[in-house]
């Protein structure tokens, strides 16, 4: 059993001495997840707003589709993006396979449905007195859209944080599309998978602790925001 304790001891050492491989995986994770969440927000928030705010034929069908995509397994996304980006695939010429932007495309496909679905729900559940209040205060169409989104800002942030939690902890897309290339596309989650396979628990535990710390930070900010929106 001592190998578990040894693993923890070595893991703390790896973190405290800023082991280059650990730092590289952390840095890669931060870079790719930032790119993914930015793209997910840029696409998901407007889509969610339109789905929640407007009424048009086919809206319900699109909402059902978005909600179905919430349950899309990351390995399936990884597979689809791999096919898309592989040399023979329709976007093969872009040369994005085994690159960070390639992973970000997959993670964006993972993040957009979460943000769109939660934003749509947030906008739908805005107080029904909001629109008449804005109108009677003299708001015009453009104000109506922006102010409604601003009124739902905490819920939209919660959507972003929820999506970020999913993105930073996924392994299927990063492994398949990124290829787990050391110093290049190796993220926290793919390193843990690899090191565990090799029987090298110390690195796995160290990165696991970093990941748990990030998840904790995300959860605490979620809890704080939820308290604010409850008022």
């Amino acid at each position: 059993m001592s190998y578990i304790a040894d693993g923890f001891r070595q893991a703390i050492e790896l973190i405290l001495t800023a082991n280059p491989e650990t730092v590289s995986a952390m840095w890669t994770t931060i870079r790719v997840s930032s790119l993914s969440i930015a793209a997910s927000l840029a696409i998901g928030v407007p889509v969610g707003f339109v789905l929640g705010h407007t009424r048009f034929p086919g809206r319900k069908a699109i909402r059902t589709l978005v909600e179905t995509l919430l349950a899309l397994p990351t390995v399936v996304i990884g597979l689809l993006v791999y096919i898309l980006l592989s040399r023979r695939g329709p976007a093969g010429e872009l040369g994005l396979l085994f690159t960070l932007p390639g992973i970000a495309i997959g993670q964006t496909i993972l993040g957009v449905p979460i943000i769109a679905a939660l934003t749509a729900t947030a906008v739908e559940s805005l107080d029904r007195r909001l629109a008449p209040t804005l109108l009677t205060l003299g708001a015009r169409k453009k104000h109506l859209l922006l102010t409604s989104l601003w009124e739902a800002r905490f819920a939209v942030l919660i959507a972003g944080i929820t999506a970020y939690g999913r993105i930073v902890s996924e392994v299927g897309i990063s492994m398949m599309v990124g290829g787990n290339i050391k110093w290049h596309t190796r993220t926290l989650t793919t390193t843990i998978a690899l090191e565990t396979g090799k029987g090298e628990f110390a690195m796995g535990i160290a990165l696991g602790m970093v990941l748990i710390a990030m998840a904790l930070a995300v959860n605490i900010s979620l809890a704080v925001l939820k308290r604010r929106t409850a008022r």
Partner: protein, 341 residues
């Protein structure tokens, strides 16, 4: 050429689904007046106010504003007309930003802070204490006053108030009334105020319109008497009151019909009056007295056990019988005066 009416409504109907919430054949409102809307809950007051505030488009009929047909698409219509709701919604931001919102959307931000502070003072809120508070740090009465300040700051030409004091404390209610009146006195705003407790409104309003079931049932102080009614002797109908008492009326169209009785049709006397056929005589007392705006007559609120009535009498009559609040009186109403809806 004479000045056009501020509002003119012709054959206007408004439906929620298949339910007709409002039908008005003709109504005109003049600029600079105070108009009261009275009637029980569900009588169409809020719907009418939302239509006057260009928040809802009437299902059919004509609505003219300053002589021009009002098109809801014309966003400029709402620049001078604003409405305060019974249960106000404050934006998820500070009190200052709530009040400043109307000025910001108009790009009218000269001396913004000074104007916002002045509006807060109009409604009796100290800018130093309240301007920086968040929306959730206010009591119900304070929230309603912030909502009113947000409307007054834009100096609206028309201020529509939907039961503005129904759910606030007495102190807030009096400040809301004072601030609304100030809008009329300072810049000639037209006020349309709805309330189901109409008594105080008669002292204030130039004209009071009574609504029932989406229809205008007359102007001035009215008594609404709800059923159930049942046939009684001599072709009359009656409503049973407590302790064996009853109200007599001409035949009602159906048992749950609502009777409307003008305040002038309710007579008061200090001694039991001679009752003729169809008269109902009840014993009660005077609870409140006000001078009706415009007519100069007295409106007297009367209570007789579970019933309350509003009677209109001349000041001479009141002096003759030495009428005063708390006084015990006899209340007489004749079956022939009932109108049915």
């Amino acid at each position: 050429m004479s000045r056009p009416y501020l509002y003119e409504i012709l054959n206007l109907s408004h439906y929620y689904g298949s339910h007709c919430a409002l039908h008005i054949e003709r109504l005109v409102l003049e600029e600079g007046t105070i108009v009261g809307l009275t009637g029980p809950n569900g009588s169409g007051k809020s719907t009418l106010l939302k239509i006057l505030g260009f928040i809802e488009k009437p299902s059919e009929g004509i609505l003219r504003f300053k002589g021009e047909p009002a098109e809801l698409k014309d966003e400029s219509l709402r620049s001078s007309v604003t409405m305060l709701f019974q249960d106000p919604y404050l934006l998820r931001r500070s009190v200052f930003e709530n009040v400043a919102f109307g000025l910001r959307v108009r790009d009218d931000v000269n001396e913004l802070a000074a104007r916002v502070h002045r509006a807060l003072q109009w409604v009796g809120l100290s800018p130093e204490r309240f301007a920086r508070r968040a929306w959730h740090e206010l009591s119900g009465g304070e929230a309603q006053r912030v909502a009113l300040a947000a409307r007054l700051v834009i100096r609206p030409k028309v201020l529509l108030l939907d039961e503005p004091t129904a759910s606030v404390d007495a102190a807030s209610a009096s400040m809301i009334n004072d601030a609304s009146l100030m809008a009329r006195n300072e810049w000639g705003a037209t006020l349309v105020i709805s309330t189901h407790d109409s008594f105080w409104l008669h002292a204030l309003a130039d004209e009071t319109l009574a609504l029932y079931d989406g229809r205008l049932v007359g102007s001035g102080a009215k008594n609404f008497i709800l059923g159930p009614w049942k046939p009684a002797e001599q072709g009359l109908w009656e409503k049973t009151l407590s302790e064996g008492r009853r109200l007599l009326a001409l035949p009602a169209p159906y048992p749950d019909a609502v009777a409307v009785l003008d305040a002038s049709d309710i007579r008061i006397s200090p001694t039991p009056p001679d009752a003729s056929r169809g008269d109902t005589v009840l014993h009660g007392s005077v609870t409140q007295m006000i001078i009706e705006n415009g007519s100069g007559r007295l409106l007297v609120k009367l209570a007789s056990r579970e019933c309350s009535f509003t009677s209109r009498i001349t000041q001479e009559q009141a002096t003759k019988i030495g009428l005063h609040p708390g006084q015990s009186v006899w209340i007489a109403l004749n079956a022939g005066a009932f109108q049915w809806f």
